[in-house]
Protein backbone atom coordinates (compact mmCIF):
# COMPACT_ATOMS: atom_id res chain seq x y z
CA UNK A 1 0.00 0.00 0.00
CA UNK A 2 2.96 2.29 0.60
CA UNK A 3 3.53 2.36 -3.16
CA UNK A 4 -0.06 3.45 -3.80
CA UNK A 5 0.13 6.28 -1.25
CA UNK A 6 3.43 7.34 -2.76
CA UNK A 7 1.81 7.37 -6.21
CA UNK A 8 -0.83 9.85 -5.07
CA UNK A 9 1.76 12.05 -3.36
CA UNK A 10 3.91 12.03 -6.49
CA UNK A 11 0.85 13.11 -8.47
CA UNK A 12 0.23 15.95 -6.04
CA UNK A 13 3.91 16.90 -6.04
CA UNK A 14 3.40 18.22 -9.56
CA UNK A 15 1.56 21.18 -8.00
CA UNK A 16 4.18 21.76 -5.28
CA UNK A 17 5.34 25.16 -6.59
CA UNK A 18 1.80 26.51 -6.67
CA UNK A 19 1.20 25.26 -3.15
CA UNK A 20 4.36 26.88 -1.82
CA UNK A 21 3.38 30.15 -3.46
CA UNK A 22 -0.07 29.83 -2.02
CA UNK A 23 1.25 29.18 1.50
CA UNK A 24 3.41 32.30 1.38
CA UNK A 25 0.41 34.37 0.24
CA UNK A 26 -1.72 32.67 2.86
CA UNK A 27 0.79 33.49 5.62
CA UNK A 28 0.85 37.15 4.59
CA UNK A 29 -2.94 37.39 4.55
CA UNK A 30 -3.17 35.53 7.86
CA UNK A 31 -1.11 38.32 9.40
CA UNK A 32 -4.30 40.42 9.19
CA UNK A 33 -5.82 38.03 11.73
CA UNK A 34 -8.84 36.51 9.97
CA UNK A 35 -9.65 33.16 11.64
CA UNK A 36 -11.61 31.93 8.62
CA UNK A 37 -8.35 31.62 6.72
CA UNK A 38 -7.32 28.69 8.89
CA UNK A 39 -9.85 26.61 7.00
CA UNK A 40 -8.20 27.26 3.65
CA UNK A 41 -5.10 24.95 3.67
CA UNK A 42 -7.19 21.98 4.86
CA UNK A 43 -9.69 22.73 2.11
CA UNK A 44 -6.89 22.97 -0.45
CA UNK A 45 -5.52 19.61 0.73
CA UNK A 46 -8.93 18.08 0.05
CA UNK A 47 -9.14 19.62 -3.41
CA UNK A 48 -5.59 18.51 -4.22
CA UNK A 49 -6.25 14.96 -3.19
CA UNK A 50 -9.41 14.95 -5.28
CA UNK A 51 -7.25 15.56 -8.34
CA UNK A 52 -5.64 12.12 -7.81
CA UNK A 53 -9.05 10.55 -8.46
CA UNK A 54 -9.32 12.56 -11.68
CA UNK A 55 -5.84 11.50 -12.83
CA UNK A 56 -6.66 7.86 -12.05
CA UNK A 57 -9.91 8.01 -13.94
CA UNK A 58 -8.48 9.81 -16.96
CA UNK A 59 -5.62 7.33 -17.32
CA UNK A 60 -7.71 4.23 -16.49
CA UNK A 61 -5.25 3.58 -13.69
CA UNK A 62 -7.51 1.26 -11.73
CA UNK A 63 -7.56 -1.41 -14.46
CA UNK A 64 -3.78 -1.44 -14.32
CA UNK A 65 -3.61 -1.14 -10.53
CA UNK A 66 -5.61 -4.30 -9.90
CA UNK A 67 -3.13 -6.29 -12.00
CA UNK A 68 -0.27 -5.27 -9.70
CA UNK A 69 0.90 -7.17 -6.66
CA UNK A 70 -1.62 -5.78 -4.20
CA UNK A 71 -5.05 -6.45 -2.75
CA UNK A 72 -7.90 -4.60 -4.43
CA UNK A 73 -8.97 -3.13 -1.09
CA UNK A 74 -5.50 -1.55 -0.72
CA UNK A 75 -6.34 0.79 -3.60
CA UNK A 76 -9.30 2.12 -1.60
CA UNK A 77 -7.52 2.20 1.76
CA UNK A 78 -4.60 4.10 0.24
CA UNK A 79 -6.99 6.89 -0.78
CA UNK A 80 -8.23 7.29 2.79
CA UNK A 81 -4.79 7.03 4.39
CA UNK A 82 -3.23 9.32 1.79
CA UNK A 83 -5.83 12.04 2.16
CA UNK A 84 -5.64 11.89 5.98
CA UNK A 85 -1.84 12.20 5.81
CA UNK A 86 -2.12 15.19 3.47
CA UNK A 87 -4.72 16.76 5.75
CA UNK A 88 -2.42 16.33 8.75
CA UNK A 89 0.39 18.03 6.83
CA UNK A 90 -1.98 20.88 5.91
CA UNK A 91 -3.15 21.28 9.52
CA UNK A 92 0.40 21.20 10.89
CA UNK A 93 1.43 23.78 8.29
CA UNK A 94 -1.52 25.96 9.25
CA UNK A 95 -0.66 25.60 12.93
CA UNK A 96 2.89 26.68 12.22
CA UNK A 97 1.72 29.72 10.29
CA UNK A 98 -0.82 30.54 13.01
CA UNK A 99 1.93 30.26 15.60
CA UNK A 100 4.26 32.54 13.65
CA UNK A 101 1.49 35.07 12.99
CA UNK A 102 0.51 34.88 16.67
CA UNK A 103 4.11 35.53 17.68
CA UNK A 104 4.36 38.53 15.35
CA UNK A 105 1.03 39.97 16.55
CA UNK A 106 1.69 38.83 20.13
CA UNK A 107 -1.78 37.28 20.44
CA UNK A 108 -1.23 33.52 19.90
CA UNK A 109 -4.01 31.51 21.54
CA UNK A 110 -3.01 27.83 21.57
CA UNK A 111 -6.38 26.41 22.67
CA UNK A 112 -8.40 28.44 20.18
CA UNK A 113 -6.05 27.58 17.31
CA UNK A 114 -6.15 23.91 18.21
CA UNK A 115 -9.95 23.81 18.29
CA UNK A 116 -10.19 25.76 15.06
CA UNK A 117 -7.85 23.37 13.29
CA UNK A 118 -9.49 20.24 14.69
CA UNK A 119 -12.85 21.62 13.58
CA UNK A 120 -11.48 22.30 10.11
CA UNK A 121 -9.86 18.86 9.88
CA UNK A 122 -13.02 17.13 11.10
CA UNK A 123 -15.19 18.96 8.57
CA UNK A 124 -12.85 18.07 5.71
CA UNK A 125 -12.71 14.42 6.79
CA UNK A 126 -16.49 14.33 6.95
CA UNK A 127 -16.79 15.70 3.40
CA UNK A 128 -14.17 13.21 2.16
CA UNK A 129 -16.00 10.36 3.88
CA UNK A 130 -19.12 11.27 1.92
CA UNK A 131 -17.27 11.92 -1.33
CA UNK A 132 -15.03 8.88 -1.72
CA UNK A 133 -17.69 6.18 -2.03
CA UNK A 134 -19.47 8.46 -4.53
CA UNK A 135 -16.26 8.94 -6.53
CA UNK A 136 -15.62 5.21 -6.62
CA UNK A 137 -19.18 4.36 -7.56
CA UNK A 138 -19.94 7.10 -10.08
CA UNK A 139 -16.57 8.65 -11.01
CA UNK A 140 -15.24 12.06 -10.04
CA UNK A 141 -17.55 14.27 -12.07
CA UNK A 142 -20.78 12.47 -11.25
CA UNK A 143 -19.60 12.08 -7.65
CA UNK A 144 -19.20 15.85 -7.32
CA UNK A 145 -22.64 16.44 -8.79
CA UNK A 146 -24.00 13.84 -6.37
CA UNK A 147 -22.41 15.73 -3.48
CA UNK A 148 -23.94 19.05 -4.53
CA UNK A 149 -27.35 17.44 -4.95
CA UNK A 150 -26.90 15.83 -1.51
CA UNK A 151 -25.94 19.13 0.12
CA UNK A 152 -28.90 20.88 -1.51
CA UNK A 153 -31.42 18.24 -0.48
CA UNK A 154 -29.89 17.95 3.01
CA UNK A 155 -30.03 21.72 3.56
CA UNK A 156 -33.59 21.80 2.27
CA UNK A 157 -34.57 18.98 4.64
CA UNK A 158 -32.90 20.57 7.68
CA UNK A 159 -34.44 23.97 6.84
CA UNK A 160 -37.85 22.34 6.51
CA UNK A 161 -37.52 20.52 9.83
CA UNK A 162 -36.31 23.62 11.68
CA UNK A 163 -39.18 25.72 10.32
CA UNK A 164 -41.97 23.23 10.84
CA UNK A 165 -40.99 21.17 13.84
CA UNK A 166 -40.64 22.77 17.26
CA UNK A 167 -37.68 21.23 19.00
CA UNK A 168 -37.44 21.45 22.76
CA UNK A 169 -34.15 20.12 24.08
CA UNK A 170 -34.07 19.37 27.80
CA UNK A 171 -31.57 21.41 29.86
CA UNK A 172 -29.72 18.26 30.98
CA UNK A 173 -29.03 17.31 27.34
CA UNK A 174 -27.69 20.79 26.62
CA UNK A 175 -25.34 20.55 29.61
CA UNK A 176 -24.21 17.09 28.51
CA UNK A 177 -23.60 18.25 24.95
CA UNK A 178 -21.65 21.31 26.11
CA UNK A 179 -19.35 19.04 28.06
CA UNK A 180 -18.90 16.14 25.67
CA UNK A 181 -19.72 17.49 22.20
CA UNK A 182 -16.11 17.49 20.87
CA UNK A 183 -15.68 13.87 21.99
CA UNK A 184 -19.02 12.86 20.52
CA UNK A 185 -18.15 14.56 17.26
CA UNK A 186 -14.74 12.84 17.21
CA UNK A 187 -16.24 9.39 17.80
CA UNK A 188 -19.04 10.10 15.31
CA UNK A 189 -16.52 11.17 12.68
CA UNK A 190 -14.46 8.03 13.25
CA UNK A 191 -17.57 5.87 12.78
CA UNK A 192 -18.52 7.78 9.62
CA UNK A 193 -14.99 7.29 8.24
CA UNK A 194 -14.99 3.56 8.91
CA UNK A 195 -18.47 3.20 7.40
CA UNK A 196 -17.38 5.23 4.39
CA UNK A 197 -14.31 3.04 3.87
CA UNK A 198 -16.34 -0.17 4.18
CA UNK A 199 -18.90 1.07 1.65
CA UNK A 200 -16.19 2.31 -0.74
CA UNK A 201 -14.34 -0.99 -0.40
CA UNK A 202 -17.44 -3.04 -1.20
CA UNK A 203 -18.18 -0.89 -4.24
CA UNK A 204 -14.59 -1.20 -5.44
CA UNK A 205 -14.42 -4.97 -4.96
CA UNK A 206 -17.45 -5.38 -7.19
CA UNK A 207 -16.39 -2.76 -9.69
CA UNK A 208 -15.11 -3.71 -13.13
CA UNK A 209 -12.62 -1.67 -15.11
Amino acid sequence: MKGLILKDFLLIKGNARHILLFLVAFGLIALQGNDFLYFVPAFISMMMFMTTFSYDEYNKWDAYAVTLSLEKKDVVLSKYVGSILLLIVALLGTFLIAFLVGMVNQNFDFEKTLFLLLGCGGSILFIQAILYPLFIKFGVEKGRIGLFVGIFLGSFFIGFVLQNVSLSIPESVVVFLKQYLPWLLGIGLWIVLILSYEIAKRIYLKKEF
Binding site: G3, L10, L11, G14, Y64, T67, L68, E208, F209
Partner: protein, 285 residues
Protein backbone atom coordinates in the same frame (compact mmCIF):
# COMPACT_ATOMS: atom_id res chain seq x y z
CA UNK B 1 4.83 -30.46 -18.27
CA UNK B 2 3.04 -28.51 -15.56
CA UNK B 3 0.31 -26.16 -16.77
CA UNK B 4 1.06 -22.51 -16.20
CA UNK B 5 -2.45 -21.46 -17.12
CA UNK B 6 -5.57 -23.54 -16.66
CA UNK B 7 -9.02 -22.13 -17.28
CA UNK B 8 -12.23 -24.06 -16.69
CA UNK B 9 -15.66 -22.87 -17.82
CA UNK B 10 -14.63 -19.24 -17.83
CA UNK B 11 -17.66 -17.16 -18.70
CA UNK B 12 -18.46 -13.48 -18.75
CA UNK B 13 -21.83 -12.17 -19.85
CA UNK B 14 -22.75 -8.69 -21.00
CA UNK B 15 -26.08 -7.62 -22.40
CA UNK B 16 -24.73 -7.79 -25.96
CA UNK B 17 -21.83 -10.19 -25.68
CA UNK B 18 -20.94 -13.44 -23.97
CA UNK B 19 -17.44 -14.76 -23.53
CA UNK B 20 -17.21 -18.50 -23.20
CA UNK B 21 -17.63 -20.82 -21.51
CA UNK B 22 -13.94 -21.27 -22.19
CA UNK B 23 -11.84 -24.15 -20.96
CA UNK B 24 -8.20 -24.40 -21.92
CA UNK B 25 -4.73 -24.95 -20.52
CA UNK B 26 -1.16 -24.23 -21.54
CA UNK B 27 2.20 -25.50 -20.37
CA UNK B 28 4.93 -23.18 -19.15
CA UNK B 29 7.81 -22.01 -21.28
CA UNK B 30 5.78 -21.09 -24.35
CA UNK B 31 4.40 -18.07 -26.17
CA UNK B 32 0.63 -18.23 -26.54
CA UNK B 33 -0.79 -16.04 -29.26
CA UNK B 34 -4.34 -14.90 -28.65
CA UNK B 35 -5.95 -13.81 -31.89
CA UNK B 36 -9.38 -12.81 -33.13
CA UNK B 37 -11.09 -9.87 -34.79
CA UNK B 38 -12.14 -6.75 -32.87
CA UNK B 39 -14.78 -7.61 -30.32
CA UNK B 40 -14.00 -11.34 -30.43
CA UNK B 41 -13.36 -11.36 -26.67
CA UNK B 42 -9.55 -11.17 -26.45
CA UNK B 43 -9.46 -8.28 -24.01
CA UNK B 44 -12.40 -9.66 -22.03
CA UNK B 45 -10.50 -12.95 -21.73
CA UNK B 46 -7.35 -11.21 -20.50
CA UNK B 47 -9.28 -8.95 -18.13
CA UNK B 48 -11.03 -12.00 -16.70
CA UNK B 49 -7.73 -13.77 -16.14
CA UNK B 50 -6.36 -10.79 -14.26
CA UNK B 51 -9.46 -10.06 -12.19
CA UNK B 52 -10.03 -6.66 -13.82
CA UNK B 53 -13.54 -7.87 -14.52
CA UNK B 54 -15.45 -10.51 -12.59
CA UNK B 55 -16.26 -13.72 -14.38
CA UNK B 56 -17.55 -17.18 -13.64
CA UNK B 57 -15.41 -20.28 -13.75
CA UNK B 58 -12.03 -21.23 -12.39
CA UNK B 59 -8.67 -19.71 -13.28
CA UNK B 60 -5.44 -21.28 -12.15
CA UNK B 61 -2.09 -19.70 -12.81
CA UNK B 62 1.10 -21.50 -11.72
CA UNK B 63 -1.30 -24.17 -10.41
CA UNK B 64 -2.77 -21.70 -7.89
CA UNK B 65 -6.30 -20.39 -7.76
CA UNK B 66 -6.65 -16.74 -8.82
CA UNK B 67 -9.68 -16.31 -6.59
CA UNK B 68 -7.74 -17.28 -3.51
CA UNK B 69 -4.14 -16.31 -4.08
CA UNK B 70 -4.35 -13.41 -6.52
CA UNK B 71 -1.79 -11.26 -4.78
CA UNK B 72 0.87 -13.96 -4.55
CA UNK B 73 0.27 -15.00 -8.15
CA UNK B 74 0.44 -11.41 -9.40
CA UNK B 75 3.89 -11.05 -7.83
CA UNK B 76 5.12 -13.27 -10.67
CA UNK B 77 3.04 -11.78 -13.49
CA UNK B 78 3.97 -8.86 -15.71
CA UNK B 79 1.14 -7.07 -17.47
CA UNK B 80 0.78 -4.69 -20.38
CA UNK B 81 -2.76 -3.53 -21.05
CA UNK B 82 -4.02 -1.94 -24.21
CA UNK B 83 -5.08 1.35 -22.74
CA UNK B 84 -4.27 1.75 -19.08
CA UNK B 85 -1.11 2.53 -17.24
CA UNK B 86 0.28 5.01 -14.73
CA UNK B 87 -1.12 8.56 -14.83
CA UNK B 88 0.56 10.28 -17.71
CA UNK B 89 2.00 13.15 -15.68
CA UNK B 90 4.34 10.63 -14.05
CA UNK B 91 7.88 9.84 -15.13
CA UNK B 92 9.87 6.60 -15.36
CA UNK B 93 11.59 7.59 -12.11
CA UNK B 94 8.20 7.96 -10.42
CA UNK B 95 7.20 4.51 -11.67
CA UNK B 96 10.39 3.05 -10.20
CA UNK B 97 9.71 4.67 -6.80
CA UNK B 98 6.18 3.25 -6.73
CA UNK B 99 6.92 -0.23 -8.05
CA UNK B 100 9.81 -0.85 -5.67
CA UNK B 101 7.24 -0.48 -2.90
CA UNK B 102 4.79 -2.88 -4.53
CA UNK B 103 6.97 -5.77 -5.72
CA UNK B 104 9.34 -7.80 -3.57
CA UNK B 105 11.44 -8.61 -6.62
CA UNK B 106 11.51 -5.16 -8.21
CA UNK B 107 14.94 -4.81 -9.78
CA UNK B 108 15.99 -1.14 -10.25
CA UNK B 109 19.10 -2.17 -12.20
CA UNK B 110 17.02 -4.17 -14.65
CA UNK B 111 14.40 -1.42 -15.00
CA UNK B 112 16.95 1.28 -15.71
CA UNK B 113 18.86 -1.01 -18.07
CA UNK B 114 15.65 -1.42 -20.11
CA UNK B 115 15.19 2.35 -20.08
CA UNK B 116 18.73 2.78 -21.40
CA UNK B 117 18.29 -0.01 -23.95
CA UNK B 118 15.13 1.63 -25.29
CA UNK B 119 16.58 5.17 -24.97
CA UNK B 120 13.73 6.14 -22.67
CA UNK B 121 14.11 9.31 -20.58
CA UNK B 122 13.91 8.93 -16.80
CA UNK B 123 12.48 12.33 -15.95
CA UNK B 124 10.05 13.06 -18.74
CA UNK B 125 6.32 12.76 -18.16
CA UNK B 126 4.68 9.80 -19.90
CA UNK B 127 2.43 12.23 -21.78
CA UNK B 128 5.44 13.69 -23.58
CA UNK B 129 6.52 10.29 -24.92
CA UNK B 130 5.62 8.97 -28.36
CA UNK B 131 3.26 6.01 -28.54
CA UNK B 132 6.15 3.65 -29.24
CA UNK B 133 8.22 4.97 -26.33
CA UNK B 134 5.26 4.77 -24.02
CA UNK B 135 4.64 1.17 -24.99
CA UNK B 136 8.29 0.35 -24.43
CA UNK B 137 8.08 1.93 -20.97
CA UNK B 138 5.04 -0.22 -20.21
CA UNK B 139 6.94 -3.32 -21.31
CA UNK B 140 10.05 -2.35 -19.31
CA UNK B 141 7.82 -1.84 -16.25
CA UNK B 142 6.18 -5.21 -16.74
CA UNK B 143 9.55 -6.98 -16.90
CA UNK B 144 11.47 -5.32 -14.08
CA UNK B 145 10.19 -7.47 -11.22
CA UNK B 146 11.38 -10.70 -12.86
CA UNK B 147 7.94 -12.08 -13.71
CA UNK B 148 7.55 -15.66 -14.87
CA UNK B 149 4.41 -15.01 -16.88
CA UNK B 150 3.79 -12.02 -19.13
CA UNK B 151 0.21 -11.18 -20.06
CA UNK B 152 0.15 -8.64 -22.85
CA UNK B 153 -2.90 -7.12 -24.48
CA UNK B 154 -2.05 -5.71 -27.90
CA UNK B 155 1.51 -4.75 -26.94
CA UNK B 156 2.53 -4.07 -30.53
CA UNK B 157 -0.54 -2.26 -31.85
CA UNK B 158 0.20 1.18 -33.24
CA UNK B 159 3.95 0.60 -33.26
CA UNK B 160 6.06 1.08 -36.35
CA UNK B 161 7.82 -2.02 -37.76
CA UNK B 162 11.20 -1.13 -36.23
CA UNK B 163 9.85 -0.70 -32.71
CA UNK B 164 7.72 -3.82 -33.16
CA UNK B 165 10.80 -5.80 -34.05
CA UNK B 166 12.61 -4.48 -30.96
CA UNK B 167 9.66 -5.43 -28.77
CA UNK B 168 9.30 -8.90 -30.29
CA UNK B 169 13.03 -9.51 -29.84
CA UNK B 170 12.61 -8.60 -26.20
CA UNK B 171 9.87 -11.19 -25.84
CA UNK B 172 12.08 -13.79 -27.49
CA UNK B 173 14.85 -12.91 -24.99
CA UNK B 174 12.37 -13.28 -22.16
CA UNK B 175 11.23 -16.69 -23.33
CA UNK B 176 14.80 -18.04 -23.40
CA UNK B 177 14.28 -18.93 -19.74
CA UNK B 178 12.35 -22.20 -19.80
CA UNK B 179 10.20 -21.12 -16.86
CA UNK B 180 8.96 -18.04 -18.67
CA UNK B 181 5.65 -17.87 -20.51
CA UNK B 182 3.91 -15.18 -22.55
CA UNK B 183 0.24 -14.77 -23.36
CA UNK B 184 0.03 -12.18 -26.08
CA UNK B 185 -3.08 -10.86 -27.78
CA UNK B 186 -2.72 -9.10 -31.08
CA UNK B 187 -4.38 -8.21 -34.35
CA UNK B 188 -1.02 -8.34 -36.05
CA UNK B 189 -0.97 -12.04 -36.72
CA UNK B 190 2.28 -11.90 -38.68
CA UNK B 191 4.06 -11.17 -35.39
CA UNK B 192 2.83 -14.46 -34.01
CA UNK B 193 3.98 -16.45 -37.04
CA UNK B 194 7.54 -15.72 -35.94
CA UNK B 195 7.31 -16.16 -32.21
CA UNK B 196 4.19 -18.00 -31.00
CA UNK B 197 4.20 -21.65 -29.94
CA UNK B 198 0.45 -21.90 -29.46
CA UNK B 199 -2.41 -20.09 -31.15
CA UNK B 200 -5.67 -19.51 -29.32
CA UNK B 201 -8.21 -18.12 -31.74
CA UNK B 202 -11.37 -16.52 -30.37
CA UNK B 203 -14.43 -15.62 -32.37
CA UNK B 204 -17.64 -14.21 -30.91
CA UNK B 205 -16.48 -15.14 -27.43
CA UNK B 206 -15.65 -18.77 -28.20
CA UNK B 207 -12.50 -20.70 -29.01
CA UNK B 208 -12.58 -21.65 -32.67
CA UNK B 209 -9.03 -22.91 -32.89
CA UNK B 210 -6.45 -23.95 -30.34
CA UNK B 211 -3.35 -25.58 -31.76
CA UNK B 212 0.39 -25.24 -31.88
CA UNK B 213 1.68 -22.85 -34.49
CA UNK B 214 3.66 -25.63 -36.14
CA UNK B 215 0.59 -27.83 -36.44
CA UNK B 216 -1.33 -24.96 -38.00
CA UNK B 217 1.43 -24.09 -40.44
CA UNK B 218 2.11 -27.74 -41.35
CA UNK B 219 -1.44 -29.02 -41.57
CA UNK B 220 -3.67 -26.20 -42.74
CA UNK B 221 -3.60 -24.88 -46.25
CA UNK B 222 -5.58 -22.99 -48.87
CA UNK B 223 -6.83 -24.90 -51.83
CA UNK B 224 -7.42 -22.62 -54.80
CA UNK B 225 -9.65 -23.70 -57.65
CA UNK B 226 -12.23 -22.66 -60.20
CA UNK B 227 -15.99 -23.15 -60.12
CA UNK B 228 -15.96 -26.49 -61.92
CA UNK B 229 -13.20 -27.99 -59.79
CA UNK B 230 -14.90 -26.76 -56.65
CA UNK B 231 -17.87 -29.04 -57.23
CA UNK B 232 -15.51 -32.05 -57.31
CA UNK B 233 -14.18 -31.41 -53.79
CA UNK B 234 -15.60 -33.65 -51.12
CA UNK B 235 -17.59 -31.93 -48.38
CA UNK B 236 -15.54 -33.46 -45.56
CA UNK B 237 -12.36 -31.87 -46.94
CA UNK B 238 -13.73 -28.33 -46.76
CA UNK B 239 -13.49 -26.51 -43.42
CA UNK B 240 -14.52 -23.14 -44.83
CA UNK B 241 -14.52 -21.54 -48.26
CA UNK B 242 -14.67 -18.07 -49.75
CA UNK B 243 -15.69 -17.26 -53.28
CA UNK B 244 -13.93 -14.44 -55.09
CA UNK B 245 -13.94 -13.24 -58.70
CA UNK B 246 -11.14 -15.67 -59.68
CA UNK B 247 -12.63 -18.74 -58.08
CA UNK B 248 -12.63 -20.36 -54.66
CA UNK B 249 -10.33 -20.28 -51.67
CA UNK B 250 -10.88 -23.32 -49.50
CA UNK B 251 -9.51 -23.81 -46.01
CA UNK B 252 -8.37 -27.40 -45.65
CA UNK B 253 -6.63 -29.52 -43.06
CA UNK B 254 -4.17 -32.36 -43.67
CA UNK B 255 -2.80 -30.39 -46.57
CA UNK B 256 -0.15 -32.98 -47.50
CA UNK B 257 -2.84 -35.64 -47.97
CA UNK B 258 -5.11 -33.30 -49.89
CA UNK B 259 -2.27 -32.24 -52.16
CA UNK B 260 -2.16 -35.81 -53.43
CA UNK B 261 -5.93 -36.12 -53.47
CA UNK B 262 -6.43 -33.00 -55.60
CA UNK B 263 -3.17 -32.86 -57.62
CA UNK B 264 -4.49 -30.42 -60.23
CA UNK B 265 -5.39 -27.77 -57.73
CA UNK B 266 -3.07 -25.22 -56.16
CA UNK B 267 -2.49 -25.80 -52.50
CA UNK B 268 -0.80 -22.85 -50.76
CA UNK B 269 0.63 -22.65 -47.29
CA UNK B 270 -1.55 -20.61 -45.02
CA UNK B 271 -0.81 -17.50 -42.99
CA UNK B 272 -2.52 -16.83 -39.67
CA UNK B 273 -4.24 -13.85 -41.23
CA UNK B 274 -5.72 -15.98 -44.02
CA UNK B 275 -6.71 -18.61 -41.49
CA UNK B 276 -8.44 -15.96 -39.39
CA UNK B 277 -10.31 -14.48 -42.35
CA UNK B 278 -11.43 -17.88 -43.63
CA UNK B 279 -12.56 -19.11 -40.23
CA UNK B 280 -14.49 -15.92 -39.48
CA UNK B 281 -15.79 -14.92 -42.89
CA UNK B 282 -15.74 -18.24 -44.74
CA UNK B 283 -18.82 -20.34 -45.53
CA UNK B 284 -19.43 -23.92 -44.47
CA UNK B 285 -20.15 -26.32 -47.31
Amino acid sequence: MKNILEVKNLQKSYSDFVLGPISTHFPGGVIIGLIGENGAGKTTFIKSLLGIIQSEGSIQIFGRDMNEEAREIKEDIGVVLDNSFFPEVMTANDIHKIMKNLYKNWDPGLFFSYLDKFSLPRNKAIKTLSKGMRKKLEIATSLAHHPKFLILDEPTSGLDPIVRKEVLDLFLDFIQDEEHTILLSTHITSDLEHIADYILFLDKGHIVLEETRDDIMDNYGILKCGIEEFSSIKKEDVIRFLKNKYGYEILVKNSQVLKKKYPKMILDKITLEELMVLLVKGCVL
